[in-house]
Symmetry: C2
């Protein structure tokens, strides 16, 4: 290529910065389907050449899409369009007594026909922190922390708290709580859950969550805080969950 001694500076509109215009173009191609799930985006070098920009600027454009969760970078390989294949989590049906009453795991209702696993289980007994003791109205709790994976990929981490004076000595304090899970054991103990409240939030993950869910940049977590109540309004479980938002759709049904 002939290097002109007088490089004519391209007239740049300052409507929006270059990196943003480039990101907008790429986003359009993704959302319109011109670039499909798993397709490779033009890389940093390609953008530098195509638009005559510095590397940092090309990176900035790609960073926009990455932070929006539309693309994922793969080191030594490229930047790719991200996919969204959610699990449908049915808010009420999954917790109906029929589920755990028959010795079925709640997860069977979430992931029909898919391979799910409990990756990690951590159990301990400890004094309740302030928010936990306020929710469960007790001083000591058993804590069950676990991670769930579907099709080999982590999708949720959950930490459950149980009043120690209720569950002490039961299978709830063991790694495997047995058929029907912890709710069936609470039933055995005379505290079957009859009512639930769920609080749902969304936010960007904290580093610990990013690590345990192996989240790419630009992926929020859905945070669910659920309290299970036995008869008489006695709280028997507080469950704090963090869900990979790219893996989930929550469904709730109710009457007017």
């Amino acid at each position: 290529m002939t290097e002109s001694p007088v490089p004519p500076p391209p007239p740049m509109h300052h409507d929006s910065p270059i990196y943003r215009r480039i990101a907008d173009r790429l986003r359009d191609q993704i959302l319109s389907g011109a670039l499909d799930d798993g397709d490779r985006l033009p890389g940093e070098n390609a953008l530098m050449a195509e638009y005559g920009i510095a590397r940092a600027t090309a990176r900035q454009a790609l960073a926009v899409l990455i932070n929006e969760g539309l693309a994922v970078p793969r080191r030594g390989s490229g930047v790719y369009v991200r996919l969204f294949r959610p699990i449908r989590r049915h808010g009420s049906r999954r917790l109906s007594r029929e589920q755990w009453g028959r010795g079925r795991a709640i997860w069977d209702s979430d992931t029909p026909g898919r391979a799910y696993a409990v990756d990690e289980v951590d159990l301990r007994r400890e004094p309740a922190s302030t928010p936990v003791s306020r929710a469960l109205r007790c001083d000591d709790v058993w804590v069950r922390h676990r991670r769930y994976s579907v099709d080999g990929r982590p999708v949720q981490v959950a930490t459950s708290y149980f009043p120690a004076d209720i569950v002490e000595g039961s299978a709830i304090t063991l790694p495997d709580p047995g058929p029907g899970g912890v709710y069936a054991r609470l039933d055995d103990l005379g505290y079957p859950p009859v009512h639930f409240t769920e609080e749902v939030r969304a936010r960007m993950p904290q580093p610990r969550e990013t690590a345990s869910l192996d989240l790419p940049a630009g992926t929020p977590v859905i945070v669910i805080s659920r309290i299970a109540f036995a008869a008489g309004g006695v709280p028997v479980e507080l469950n704090e969950m963090a869900l990979d938002s790219a893996s989930y759709v929550l469904q709730y049904d109710f009457d007017a």
Copy 2:
């Protein structure tokens, strides 16, 4: 490769990059409360001086926190700790017949004692798109788009679709649907909603949503897709909502 007399080479992988370590320190200060809502973070110049790094690196550190939604940059001023003052949106109670049956707006139940407003209203009749026609089982729809603000800040945009053959000529096709809102009008028309399903997702916003909700970087949206059914399972409304996740906590109650 000559053996250097100098110290042990770093094993395999080095620690986190500088910008990430700095971000981690600042994050700890935010989450621990040492830096509170609205406090000013050390700026780019301060970080450059404190850590002896280049400006781009300092920016990178701050960008981490901004993309996590923990901090907001203000041009010409500084970077500040972000606040979280959510609206509690009660999934079922708010849609109970008692709400709209007595001419009360649904929003009264979400924002007790706070000033809320419908900022923008857009009305049109159009052919249903494929997903809309699948949900509502009809070909033409009336579309109500509006934006809600609380305490002067936009928190939600919503687009409702109604089967045109049901609502044509009713106040649902007018900017102000009257006391009790659109559900009271559906009741008048002989199609009172008796059942709802909500699908809840979270993701990073698209530019249009960022603009209309005035979202800072690092703020996901909660996307809710709700279908209202009249007796006999007749769908009478599809409502697609996008909520500022920093402004909302969703609450759902149900029995086992």
